[in-house]
């Protein structure tokens, strides 16, 4: 992950200090400012751009939830709160990357960093020539043969491919197709920048990852296992991004 500029918004000084220290363990994160309330943060964001906001929910004047609804083109947001009750509401927004319950453990924060890396992956891939390459690859077509009918799929629409015996299931953003083929065969047709095999039965579209847990990734609503042998490759690729 390249350098990511972030701000911390929390009315508790202790909470801000802890979050700053947690961020300090990751050189990719640069804490550019801290604010004790959302209004000050709002003023700052009117004149400055940041990549991530670590945002408390319960604050006087303006709550974190109200705040994110006020910000135009909000950056990625990680909620930090002492309550679990807002978790569902928080994830209604695409730009919410994580929801941390305080006090935040370092091991849990590490998962937040992985989620941020994943959230930034499509953008961060977009450096220099890589951007062009991945955009082009998203627009490439793949024809699949189903009942003697050729169906055209855009590479960028494919979410994942799962091996099912003599068949593979191709899941796209709109449909699911069962094709008589193998993962090995289709892997040869897929652009490497977009796709990665993370398990003997699964190839995923790397840019569609929403969340990464210890042994699984989340793509849309599907939880896909990561094999032990593939996990280092996946992690390395995240770091490369």
């Amino acid at each position: 992950m390249h350098e990511v500029k972030c701000i911390i918004v929390d009315d508790e000084a202790t909470a801000r200090a802890i979050m700053e220290e947690l961020c300090g363990s990751f050189p990719e994160l640069e804490v550019v400012e801290q604010f004790p309330n959302a209004l000050e943060a709002l003023k700052f964001l009117n004149q400055n751009e940041v990549d991530v906001i670590f945002l408390d929910i319960h604050m006087p004047l303006l709550t974190g939830i109200d705040f994110v609804q006020t910000v135009k083109d909000p950056p990625k947001v990680v909620f930090t709160t002492s309550d679990k009750e807002f978790a569902i509401e928080a994830f209604e927004y695409d730009f919410i990357v994580d929801y941390l319950v305080k006090p935040v453990r370092p091991a849990r924060f590490q998962k937040t960093i992985l989620k941020l890396k994943s959230a930034f992956a499509p953008v961060l891939v977009g450096d220099g020539d890589g951007a062009l390459a991945i955009d082009q690859q998203k627009d490439e077509d793949l024809y699949i043969n189903i009942d003697r009918r050729l169906i055209k799929l855009k590479m960028g629409e494919i979410l994942m491919i799962e091996a099912k015996g003599d068949y593979i299931d191709i899941k796209t953003t709109t449909n699911e197709y069962r094709v008589h083929s193998t993962l090995k065969k289709i892997k040869e047709k897929l652009p490497e920048l977009l796709f990665m095999q993370i398990h003997r039965s699964f190839i995923i579209n790397f840019t569609k990852i929403i969340d990464i847990q210890d042994n699984s990734v989340l793509i849309e609503r599907s939880v896909i296992p990561i094999s032990r042998s593939q996990r280092p490759n996946l992690m390395q690729r995240l770091n490369l991004l």
Binding site: E12, T14, I18, E21, L22, S25, P60, D83, P103, R105
Partner: protein, 107 residues
């Protein structure tokens, strides 16, 4: 048996960074007494919902200081206060006193 506050969590976060530990302690030594006072003033003036908001902030500090029982109690007390129920007042204030003693001791 009453829980005893500790700095295990802060040391875990600090990972040997003594400067951070000092900074954190200096912050909590200012912030906690102020929050305790705010809580008492609001409760004594009958502003229970407002006092619940301060309990919300204090409960985070109880978690930071390793008081898991106190943290759970604060969760319940915060909700009770919103409903106008102060039954846990004495127990909660007992925890606050223990934290205040601890914070003063490390000063």
């Amino acid at each position: 048996m009453a829980e005893i506050p500790n700095l295990d969590y802060i040391k875990e976060i600090a990972g040997g960074n003594e400067e951070f530990e000092k900074k954190f302690l200096s912050i909590i030594q200012v912030e906690f007494p102020k929050e305790k006072e705010d809580y008492s003033n609001l409760l004594n003036s009958g502003q229970l919902e407002e006092s619940a908001k301060v309990v919300h902030k204090i409960k985070h500090k109880l978690g930071i200081l390793g008081l898991s029982g106190g943290y759970k109690m604060a969760i319940k007390y915060e909700e009770d206060l919103k409903m106008g129920n102060t039954a846990l007042k004495d127990d909660f204030e007992g925890v606050l006193s223990a934290v205040e003693d601890f914070v003063l001791k490390i000063a």
